[in-house]
Symmetry: C2
């Protein structure tokens, strides 16, 4: 049965949301109710070397001001620390805190568990085939993870 292009797009979105919603719910169950997917993603980038608002903005393909906003939230919640950069007085250097790393580790484990479940349901080879195809079709572009609103929202919806 051949589907419409719009159905395909919605299936991809549905798959994404199934994973992300499940991961967010599990993280909330583990005590991290205030961690949105975009926060997790930003922390990953910071942990990977984006140690300033401007660099984080470049990594996430968003403006430095938006990045700074996210950083402020993460700092407020104790996931990220921000101090002056000894090498450059203009900059503030970012670091993921121990708490932040704990979120990252747990998030990683949860996502991998969810993926395993998918592999068990459709077969590991099939899942890898999907991943390879998607990589070929869309994986070359850096995916923009900007997720205002819905993906950053509290779990427990819809209204």
């Amino acid at each position: 049965m051949s589907r419409s292009g719009a159905d395909l797009a919605l299936l991809l979105l549905g798959g994404f949301r199934a994973l992300v919603d499940a991961a967010s719910a599990e993280l909330a169950d583990r005590g991290y109710e205030d961690v949105r997917p975009v926060h997790d993603f930003a922390m990953r980038a910071i942990a990977a070397g984006a140690d300033s608002a401007s660099e984080l903005g470049r990594r996430l393909s968003i403006t430095k001001q938006s990045a700074a906003k996210t950083i402020a939230v993460l700092q407020e919640r104790g996931y990220v620390a921000r101090d002056t950069d000894p090498r450059d007085a203009r900059r503030k250097r970012l670091q993921v805190t121990e708490l932040g790393f704990d979120v990252l580790r747990q998030g990683e484990a949860i996502f991998d568990e969810l993926r395993d479940q998918w592999a068990q349901r459709i077969g590991a080879a099939e899942l890898e085939s999907i991943e390879d195809h998607l990589t070929a079709l869309a994986g070359a572009q850096p995916v923009r993870f900007d997720t205002p609103g819905w993906i950053a929202r509290d779990i427990g919806e819809p209204a």
Copy 2:
């Protein structure tokens, strides 16, 4: 090569965005620069029978107030008409205009063209296999298409 669960989620999102961004850009090229994916989706639901703000909200799994907001935008732009419902004085009956149907038809054609391109790149059977698997994994859940911000944004990003 086995990937992480988070990578899988991002691949799905990347695929979705590749399709949606391309479709939005093409629609804009055809003169519909003010049509966001969420607008297209809302119009589909209205055309399919969601003839009131409350029903549209239920279809999209959003509040009636949010639905009303989207409707107001669509009405303003001439894609949807809203008049009193002769059967129920509480209601406003919604209808997609001719202009709105034109957007829907073009959007449909564009998405199908994009899907065909994918089928040509990875093979029609492979693409259908992906669709079937995704349907099995996540297709049973109504996907919430609420897309504040990024997906509703103008084409031409990132900044």
